[in-house]
Structures are given as structure tokens and as C-alpha cells.
Symmetry: D2
Subunit: 425 residues, 4 copies
Amino acid sequence: MTRTPGKTLGVGLIGYAFMGAAHSQAWRTAPHFFDLPLRPELTVLAGRNQAAVTDAAARLGWQSTETDWRRVLERDDVDLVDVCTPGDTHAEIAIAALEAGKHVLCEKPLANSVAEAEAMADAAAKAATRGVRSMVGFTYRRVPAIGLARQLVADGRLGEIRHVRAQYLQDWIADPAAPMSWRLEKDKAGSGALGDIGAHIVDLTQYITGQALAGVSAMLETFVKERPLPTETGKLGGVGGAETGTVTVDDAAVFLGRFAGGAIGVFEATRFALGRKNAIRIEINGSAGSLAFDFEDMNVLHFFDGSEPAGTAGFRRIVVTEPEHPYVAAWWPAGHGLGYEHGFTHQVVDLVTAIAENTDPAPSFADGLQVQRVLDAVERSAADRSTWTEIPAPRDEGPRPPRHSHARDGALDEAAGTTERKDVS
Amino acid sequence: MTRTPGKTLGVGLIGYAFMGAAHSQAWRTAPHFFDLPLRPELTVLAGRNQAAVTDAAARLGWQSTETDWRRVLERDDVDLVDVCTPGDTHAEIAIAALEAGKHVLCEKPLANSVAEAEAMADAAAKAATRGVRSMVGFTYRRVPAIGLARQLVADGRLGEIRHVRAQYLQDWIADPAAPMSWRLEKDKAGSGALGDIGAHIVDLTQYITGQALAGVSAMLETFVKERPLPTETGKLGGVGGAETGTVTVDDAAVFLGRFAGGAIGVFEATRFALGRKNAIRIEINGSAGSLAFDFEDMNVLHFFDGSEPAGTAGFRRIVVTEPEHPYVAAWWPAGHGLGYEHGFTHQVVDLVTAIAENTDPAPSFADGLQVQRVLDAVERSAADRSTWTEIPAPRDEGPRPPRHSHARDGALDEAAGTTERKDVS
Amino acid sequence: MTRTPGKTLGVGLIGYAFMGAAHSQAWRTAPHFFDLPLRPELTVLAGRNQAAVTDAAARLGWQSTETDWRRVLERDDVDLVDVCTPGDTHAEIAIAALEAGKHVLCEKPLANSVAEAEAMADAAAKAATRGVRSMVGFTYRRVPAIGLARQLVADGRLGEIRHVRAQYLQDWIADPAAPMSWRLEKDKAGSGALGDIGAHIVDLTQYITGQALAGVSAMLETFVKERPLPTETGKLGGVGGAETGTVTVDDAAVFLGRFAGGAIGVFEATRFALGRKNAIRIEINGSAGSLAFDFEDMNVLHFFDGSEPAGTAGFRRIVVTEPEHPYVAAWWPAGHGLGYEHGFTHQVVDLVTAIAENTDPAPSFADGLQVQRVLDAVERSAADRSTWTEIPAPRDEGPRPPRHSHARDGALDEAAGTTERKDVS
Amino acid sequence: MTRTPGKTLGVGLIGYAFMGAAHSQAWRTAPHFFDLPLRPELTVLAGRNQAAVTDAAARLGWQSTETDWRRVLERDDVDLVDVCTPGDTHAEIAIAALEAGKHVLCEKPLANSVAEAEAMADAAAKAATRGVRSMVGFTYRRVPAIGLARQLVADGRLGEIRHVRAQYLQDWIADPAAPMSWRLEKDKAGSGALGDIGAHIVDLTQYITGQALAGVSAMLETFVKERPLPTETGKLGGVGGAETGTVTVDDAAVFLGRFAGGAIGVFEATRFALGRKNAIRIEINGSAGSLAFDFEDMNVLHFFDGSEPAGTAGFRRIVVTEPEHPYVAAWWPAGHGLGYEHGFTHQVVDLVTAIAENTDPAPSFADGLQVQRVLDAVERSAADRSTWTEIPAPRDEGPRPPRHSHARDGALDEAAGTTERKDVS
């Protein structure tokens, strides 16, 4: 980039499965569409198996490899560590990286327990005083339609929020013959649908409404308790054999919630909604307007403006591909929709911008901790006859949940506004 | 009807507001489209105000009037009493009518309390031994798309049911300036959104799945606690004045539930979903298929058949206007959809058929009682920190809720099958 | 009706098949929901077969029968003749009825040829001078969503109309094994998809836009030229035998058109669109806004308001069930949709109102003639290598087609406005 | 790529505006998701202005620059020339490149006239005998949902095709104040909506049906004939000044068509459909099934299977994100949709595969010529009172249009099948 000739950001990526591939595409792509203040370099990819990591590095575009993630933290050419490993290793790696003075991007959920997440948030707070930044990877915030939803709420177009209903529906293990996987083991995955996909709708609804969840009443369910062990290990969709293993996480999580501002929430995360592949559905009803979103039609946001006369009022199907919409100006003309992976590119843009501008990116580790506390409250309520379970207000903040993301919104909007689409004359 | 020359069914209708108008249209219309075994006569309309009831009778097509509902029960030309009054009078009128040997059709919810509903179910059971029939008016069961949903589940096309999500979304009091009404007073209405519209989704999901709810965890909310008293009393949508009254019912009810067969349910009933006028939305995921319905598009049912190859599987948008579909053959050619009031006509058809065939119609008062118990459990859970609250299994029946409606299904399908569309050559 | 004690309107209906049943339901139902200035009486039903017409009269609610339609015209208790026979008899019956001083409601298409339609329009104009009214039955105009579409255009919300695309898609003879029917014979039906369903989209688009078609370029197609003769005659959906008959009408008609105001139209009417049962789809793009309608979701109109800022603009899904919408106030609360047959009831309301008010109802026979001329131009263009074929401007009017329906709009709107929903307290 | 260590494909790109950016992203991205037999190198970017092209090369990732496209053809490190210039230069550049022995990828429409396109097809045929390959860039063929549509037709799931309706709706110049652009000048752009977007729906419907258009009847329209000249030249969306220029191309093109196999087509391409940004809508009705696609929801294909029983038949909403679907296995798990630019990546995959396998890629220049002939027939019909205008059958082939794309289908499917998603364990 001619504007920042010598300034680069060396990135070390730990893990190269599904999320590693998505993050790699984002690091490669962001500078071609956005004017970044720092140029990311795909410096090093880390994985335990040398042959596998070498092959992955070639395929994903990384310049070098390491087989021990600790080596990545020691390298001077690495400015940022991108953590794409399973959740049980997040805390150790992220804390070590922050202590080593590396910025950290950590996949969600932040950790497998509240205790780990607290330690990570502590480390992040300490690091921030030294100018070291951290961010947790709730990328769906960066879908343009979600950004627009956030803006409409922030602009008061919904008025006082009364209802939130959110579903994250998948079906990839609806078949009892689908084999075991580390994602179905509690010690590795922490939880099942709850942490894997429920975490997203907790974050998204808190982000869009600008309110934290203050309490929940919950129910968890494991529909299929024994599954065949895969004959090929480690791969989703492998073929199951004759031996079986025990599923120790939830297949589905449903919960009622109360937001700090008074809104009522109804949440459902499941891997058993046959026919729904990745349906993130969010509806919000306020005193002045309503919103509806479904990731199955991700470039669209439905908005009902309560100020319209009844005769012509109706949910507007906004195709969120206009230059006015968040991030969109950098891409294609109106009507030429984006896909799943673009959110990761936007995440890179916001993170790099925050680092260069010396501001804290959002969602922060503290935001990730707060989500972790919601998940924890869900599990405790479900274990105690669905009894109402309070969630501590986000810490270091007043009685009303403060929303790091509020602070970030300004920066985020600004970033989206200033990183214009390049002149492609 | 030439085929049943002398056989008539004298009907006495108590109440002539919204429901009274809908029932009148059904009694008038049914014999013109269906071959009924008994010819309904609109014998008498009852209301307290002579001038008003006279005017209503002229408008709605009733032959005579009474100002005391007890007089209706004494008349020899009345065979059936149709109860369309507010819920606090259901028990008294219905029980008296049954004891007077009149068949009874009673609007939902059956009563304002479990005790009343129990007394009504007792009376109905006793009356049935004398050949006197009773039915509660959950008319949405008779929307053809709902009937098709029930059939698909009964035929095993969904396999084992795992998830039920149901919403009944309205917005008619979302505006805090909307005035008070008897529907917002607990002593008259029993409850708010819960009993008025929540009752429908409880009945519909139990009907479609063939499973009773066994327990719930719930939360109720009244968003607007004081409202202006209407300057014109008794009318929805009246204009509010300076004085205010206190809303003593819920504006919204949300609850988690567990069905007897193991399925998880998530329910939401609200009058504050801005932009949604009468959105009854039901989705069901089973091990073999899934269903989705929205009353905003009432002639359509979405069905996912899990046995399709993945490459061509998808939710089918079934336009439920084929002669094969429940009730449809009596109406118009394919693609010519029905409206809201047709469910009431179908209700008359099924009721009259059951009376003529000496069978118990469904949903029975016992079914209405069971719904009442669900509503009661919701209220008790909500009052007790959302604690899980069990619902007694439907009485006089084994451990697994037997569902009168199961028995009825056969009859219902038969009825729909035999009452063919008339030859309109 | 107490308000118009002695004033009745005696109706004689000729024909009792599909349209006869729909008209009967309308005549029976209208006075129960609308305050009509004249009370319709179902005086006499006419059909050639005494047994059949007697049975139909009992079923459809008519007081007496005739086996010769001419007798209906002679009866003093008949004020209005409702013509529901096949198109080849429209001209003779309607003209005779008008000459006999009877108001006439005639099903569409007005006639099987331009010459017949001209004679009918002449007769109607003459009759009007004597206070005898006539109307052609394009009932889809009376779907509330279509009425709202018309209003939005008339209010300038679409600006200058540029594009009209209209489809009427059915599939009832897509199967080559579907048997012959009089609807597939040119001498009885006049044309096939063109006149049967194409006529509707010609009328609807002219009505909504307020512009007449000025020319067309067309193509007709008969996909299946020989079909089995039905073993049961006269019924749609009968079973075909071994003998075959020749289809002499079009299976599908497609044409380009130019509206008088400059808009471009693209039209398609077919009985071979597999999976579409009765999909009337109309989209209109103007300089200020756009509209989209699909009869498969008949209670909805989609409206794009071009004056919205790009960031929040989108097609609004208007659920056309508000009291503000045409005809709706007479029916149910918001969100409780209407069905196919309600348009016929609205037709009765508008016709009776016009008769009582001594105004000409719309659409007039002249409107029906104009549609006939469009159909005729389509046939001539299709027969002449799709060459552009002009359509004469509606007669007795200036260079720019004046639209009887314009004049009627006011009355229509007024009617819809004044015939309020009855107080159903 | 470890599998093809030394084999690279040097690419020279001419032009770097909208299409140049899309092509660059494709060349960069393809090798990271697909196992390509040749590794593309972004060797050289050509543009007339040195400063601008240098800046673009840095942004888009090209290794060197040229200011004269002829220089690109002379370079030994260039194996393929990618032509992204305006249409009036396609013929000269592409022919010269083929003669220089370079493979050519040329943006659509192939040329601005039939004569040019013929010369290009001749050159391509000659080059092919020397193993030099050429392809025209109808990328929408490579949207997975379109690929699936093609497969369903090829597999006979639609039976005999009867109806095709296709629309390409945009609105970017619906506002008369939108300024002039080279795209509105006939000598540069060839035509307006017709060639720019109409060409896509001609190609797509021919591709999906496997049938060539044999004749058309057409109408063209220019709604806004004078527009302000832009004060900033050369940019879409620039601001218009006081001076005006004359629009010499069509704003909208509508036409009827007949496919070689007998199907009837209705086509509409416009830049004046207010509210539609990039709506490519295609519906196809056959004797056994139907299809519907809308690019506004590009990851979805609707399919009606006519062999379903009527009671459960309905258009299936297939979310085209399964590994079974064309190209999808290389990307993300089910439900994680793709965006606009992915089609360009798929184009690169298919082109590189064909080059490596020594087969002719599709769509060929001959396919592009055939589309050009359709566009030409549309213009001639529109200029001659919409008279039916025949289109010569594709040359070098029998009476029934031969469809290069047929031949290609096998290869294409094979390519999609073999380029599996990489193991991202």
C-alpha cells in the first residue's frame, strides 16, 4: 500500500482447520479491498504436525511454519497472534501471547469456563495499558445487515426494546448415525450447541440492542447420547464404526432471558433443526420499530418503521448492499451480495485499524467474558430446574450494562466510513 | 338440504361481538358448501340489551332474540348453545346448557381458571353419557394447512419430534396510548396475551404433534401498566381520555416447555410485536422432517422431507389449496385461497357431523381443560422465578397423554373426505 | 336491514357452476358485513335442466328456479340479472336483459368477440340513459391489495409508470392426459389462457396504472394439440378415455405491450406453469416507487418507496388487512386475512351501491370491450409474425384513454369508506 | 501447490475497473481453495495511465505493469490474456492475443457487433487447433444455484421445457439526474441494458435449458434521452453538471423468444426497475418440474418436482450450499453462503482446468457469438415493429442447436467433482 509504505503487521496463526482457513482468507484479502493503515503479512502458521502444517501453509499462503505455538510468540517478525485452536487451549495461548506483547485475535467462545475467561480478560486489560490489543472473534457482527441493525437501534429507530427472539438452527448431527467428534466432548469443547452457536446469538443480540443479559431461565437437551466413534478421526462428517462414544455436551439449548433495559429474550440453539443449515435468526421488537434477520438470506435486513401510517406500513426488505451500508462501499456495486467469509475480512479491517489508531477493538475479551457468564448461567439454570439465574453486570462499569461495544461503535462506524471503496476506474 | 329433509339443528348464540359475527357467518355458510347431515337453523341470538341484540340479529341473520341467556336454554327449538361471551361467564352458561340437554360449542379459552374448566369438563363428560356433545372453539386447528401439518406428523413424515417453536405475535396495544379494555382486566379476561393468544399455540402444537405439554418454565411481562380509560367504553380501538386504569394482565408470555414425547418447546405470545398483526408461527423439527407455518400466509405449509437427497432437499412451499387437502374440496379450485373465517365454517361442519354421528367432537372440554392447566402452570412458574412446573397428564388416561383429538382425527379426516365439493356443473 | 326497510333488489342468476357458486356466496354474504342501501334477494336461479337447477337452488340458497333464461327477464320480481354462463351466450342474454330494463352483472370476459362486446357496450350505454346499470365481473380488482395498489398509483406514490410485468400462471392442463373440455374449444370459449386468465391481467394492470394498452406484440402457443375426450362430460378434472379431441385454443399467451402513458408491459398467461396454481403476479416500476403483488399471497402488497434514503429503503411487505385498506373495515381485525371469494362480495357491494346512487359502476361494459380489443390485437399480432398491432383508444374519449374506472375510483373509495364495519360490540 | 510444483500460468490482465477487480480477486483466491493443475501468477496488469496502473497493480496484487496492451502479448511470462476492457476493444485485443498464442478470457458481451464476434469466434477456432484456448466471461453460470439448475434440466427433472421467463432488473439510472457515462453511448457500449445485462439472461437461459433461441420479437425503450454530463468523468455515480449529453442506447429491452426445442421465452432487461438492484430472475416450467432463481437470494434455488403427490408437492427452497452442489465442496460447511465474486473464482478454476486438460472451455467464443446474434436480432426486431426475427442456428452444427455448453457440461461437472474441498483438519 503506497500510503503506509514500510508499516507492516506480522501475523502468526495458530490452527489451520475451518477457522484457520477463514482467517487466512481474511488476512490475504483485506488489503486488496480496504485501505489498511498497516499491511498484514502472513508470517507464520503453527500446527503440531510438520507435514500437515507445511502443506496447509502452502495452501493458505503463509510464509513459514512452526510446530510449537510458543515459538510463534518468540518471533520478532510476529506482531499479532491469531488463535484458531479449540477452546480448551485459548486461555493458555492468548494469555502467553499478550504477556509476550503480541496483539491477540482469539476465536469464540473466548474460553471453556468463566474462570479462564476472567483470566483472559484480566490479561487483556493489563496488556491494553501497554498498548497491546485484543479482540474476540464474533465475526457475525460484521455482516453488513447486522451492522445496519445495530445502527438502527442506536439511532433510536426501534425505540425502547421489548422483545428479542433469536435462534441459531443447524442440523449436522440430527442423524443419530453421525459420528462422535471432539465437539461433542465436554472437556474439549466446553459445551455443545450452547457455546458453539448459542454464544453467537447471545453476542449478536447484546450487540444489536446495546444491552447485556441480566438473567436467564434455561433448559439443555442431549437427544442422542451415544454415537458411533469415527473410523477416520478428527473430521466432521467422517463415517462411524461399530464402537460408540458418549456425547457429553448439549445438542440443544433453549432459554428465556431478561436484558438489562427490560427487554424479554427467547433463545434457541440447536444442531437438530432438520433442514436448517446455518439459520441465525434474530427478531427485535421495540416501541418504535422492529427488525428481522436470517443468515440464510444474509444480505437482507427486514425493518418495520412504526412511524409509517398503518395503510402503507410493512416490513421493508432492505437489500444491504448499498454503499451507505457498513463495509459495503469497499466491495461491489449495489445488489452484488457478499458471502459468509466477508465477515472475517471486516474483522481484520477493524482490528488492524484499532491497532494502528491505538484504540481498543471490539468485541473485547471483557465482552467475551460477559458472553461466557451468560453461557454459564444457562448451564446452572438448566441444572437447577430452570430456576431464574442472574448474570453479573459487566465489570468495572456502572449499574447499567456499559457495553464496550457502545464505545466501539463509533470507531467501527468511523472505520467503515473512512475505508472507502477504492477507485477502480 | 334435500338429502336430510326434516332434520334441523336449532342454534342459540350467546354473544354477538367479534366471535359472534364469525360464528354467525359459519352457521350461515356451512350448509351452502358442505353436505351436512343436519341443517343448522339460526334460531335465536341472546344479548342483554334488547335494541342492540335486535339490531345484531337482523344484521347477522338470526330469527329471534332473547335478553336473558337462560331463556335460550329453555327453548325447545334450540338444540345447541354456542357460547361467545367473555371467559368469566363460560362455565356458568356452558354447564347450565349441558344440564339442559343442549349441545355446546364454547369459545376458547374454555374458562378463566382450572377449577372452572374442571367443572366444565365434568359436566361435559356427564352430558356425553346422555348423547349431549360439547366442543371448545380452537378454530385454528381447522385451517387446512394446520390440518395438513397434523396429517404429516400422524403419517410419520416428521419422525420423532424434537423441537417445537411457536409464536403468536400481535401489536394492537404496543402503543402505550391504546386505551384500557376488559381484555386487560384480570377478573374479566383471566389473563392477557397468555390466555387470549397463547392458548391457541398451546393447543395447536399439542394438536399437531399429538403430544401434551408435561412441564414449563415461564416468564410474564406487563410492559405498560397504566393506560388511559376509554372515553367510549367497550370497544377495541376506542380513544383514551385523561383518566387511567391499571392493566392487571400480562402483555406478553414466554415459556419453555417439554412435551410428553420428549420434544422441547419454545413459546411466545405477545401483543407488543410491532408490525406483526396476527402472526401465528409454528415450526416443528423431527428426526425425519420439519414443518413451518405462519398465519400471515395461511394457505401455505412449509415441509422439509429429510429423506430427500441433500442435493435437492429443501423446504417445500406447499400451497394448501388442493382437493386432497383437509376441507378444501368443498371450496374453490386449486390456488384460490381461503381466509380467516373459513376455520369457523369447518368447525361447524365437524361439530354438526359429530352430533349427527353420535361421536364426541374434538377438541373436547377435556382438551380445553388440559390447555387451561398449561396456562395455569405458566402463571405459577412465572410467579416462582421461572422454576420448572409440571403439568398433570390429561385425566382418565394412561401415563402417556392419549389425546382425544387423536380419536377425532380419524373422524375428522373422514368428514373432510366425505363432504365433497358439490357438483357445480 | 332495518335501515332500508322496504328496498330490495331482486336478483336472477343465470348459471350455477363455479362462477354461479361464487356469485351466490357474494349475494348471500354482502348484507351481513356491509350496510347496503338495497337488500339483495336471491329471487331466481336459471338453468336448462330442471332437476339440476332445483338442486342447485336449494344448495346455493335461491328462492325459485327457471329453465329458460328468458323467463327471468320477464319476471317483475327481478331487478338485476347476473350472467354466469359461458362466454358465447353473454351477448344475447345481457343485451336482452338490458333491453328488458334489468341491471346486468356479466362475468368476464365480456364476450367472445369484439363485435359482440361492441354490441353489448352499445346496449349498456343506451340502458344507462334510462338508469339501467351494467358491470363486467373483473373481481380481482376488489382484492384489497389490488385496491391499495390502485390508490398508491393514483396518489402519485409511483410517479411516472415505466414498467409493468404481469403473469397469470396456472398448471391445470400441464399434463397431456388432462381431458378435453369446452374451455379448450374455440367456438365455445373464444380463446384459451388468453381470454380466461390473460383478460384478468390486462384489466388489472390497466386498472392499477390508470392507463390503457395502446399496442401489443404477441405470441400464442398450444403445447398439447390433441387430448382424450372425457368419459364424464362437462366436468373439469374428468377422466379421459381412448378417443381424442382437438384443442382449438391457446395453452399460453405471451405479449409485449405499450401503455398509453408510455409504460412498457410484459404479459404472460399460461395453463402450463407447473407448480403455479393461480399465481397472478403483477409488478409495476415507476419513477418514484414500485409495487409487487402475487395472488398466492393475496393479502400482501409489496411497495418500494423511492423517496426513502438508500440505506433504509426496501420493498415493504404491507399486510393489507388494516381498517384503512379498501373493504377491510367491514371484516375482521388486522392480520385476519381474506380469501378468494371476498372479491365477489365486494363486487356486489360496489354494484348495489352504484345502482342505489344512480351512478355507473365500474368496470363498465365499455371497459370490458376495451379489454376485448386488447385480446383481439394479441390474436392478430400472434397470427402475423408478432407484428406490432395497435389498439384503438377507448371510444367517446380524448386522445389519452380516460378510464371509466378513474371516475369510478372516487365512488369506489367513497363506498369503501362509508360502508364501515358494523359495530359488533 | 505441491502437486504441480513447477507448472505455472502467467496471466496478463488488461483493464482494472470493476471487472478487473473481480478478476484479480479470482486469480488470487482460486489456488487457495481449489487444487488447480496450474498455478496462476498475477504477472502483469495493463492500463494506459502509468500512475494509475501502478497504483492498481499494488492494490490488486499484480507483479508488474504495462501501459500498452500490445506489450503484454509480447511477454514470454504471459500465458493467458484476460480482457476486461470496454466492449469496443474486445475484438482487437482478443484476436491479437490468440494470434500471439495466448489463451484468452474475454469479458462479456463478446463484442459490440456480430461482425466482430464472428471474427473473434473464427480466431478462437483457429487458435484451438494450436491448443490455444478461449472463454467468454458469463460468470453467472458459475453461481452454484445456476449450476444445480443446469444439472436438474440435464437430468430430465424438468421434462420438456415449455416456459422460460427471465428478468434482469436494475435501477441505477432510474433517476433522470443520474449523469451520462460511456455505458450510455452506443459507439462505446454497443447497446444499453440489452448488451450489458440482457446478454446474461440470454446466456443463462440457453445454458440452463440446453437450447438456443431461434427467434425473437422485441421492443427497446430509452426513457431518459438527455442526461447531465458528469463533472467528474469516467465514474459511475459521478455528479452531473448543467450541460447535457444524449443517451444513444436502450434503457430497457423486452422481448419474446422461441427456443429451438419449442419453449416460449419472455425476457426483460432494464435499468429502471426502481428498488431492484441486481435482480436476475429466472423461472423455467417443464412438463415434469419447474425452477425459480433470483440473484437477490443467490444461494437458493426453488425446484418443483411434478412427480410429488399433489397433497405434498410444492416448490422446494434448496439452499445451495451442500458439498454435493457445484463448486461448494471447496468452500465452507453447509449453510455458509457464497457471494457475488465467487463466480469469478469458479470461472478461473474451470478455465485453468480446461487449459491443463487440453479441452475447450465453455462458454466458448462461439457461444458468445451466438448470444451476440440474439442481441442483434432483438435490435432488428425492435427497429421493425417487433416483427418476428429469426436467429441463425449456431454454426458448424446440425439443425438442432448443438450447444458447446453441452459438451462442456461433462467437463464442468467433472471439474467440480474432482476439485474437492481441501482437508482443513
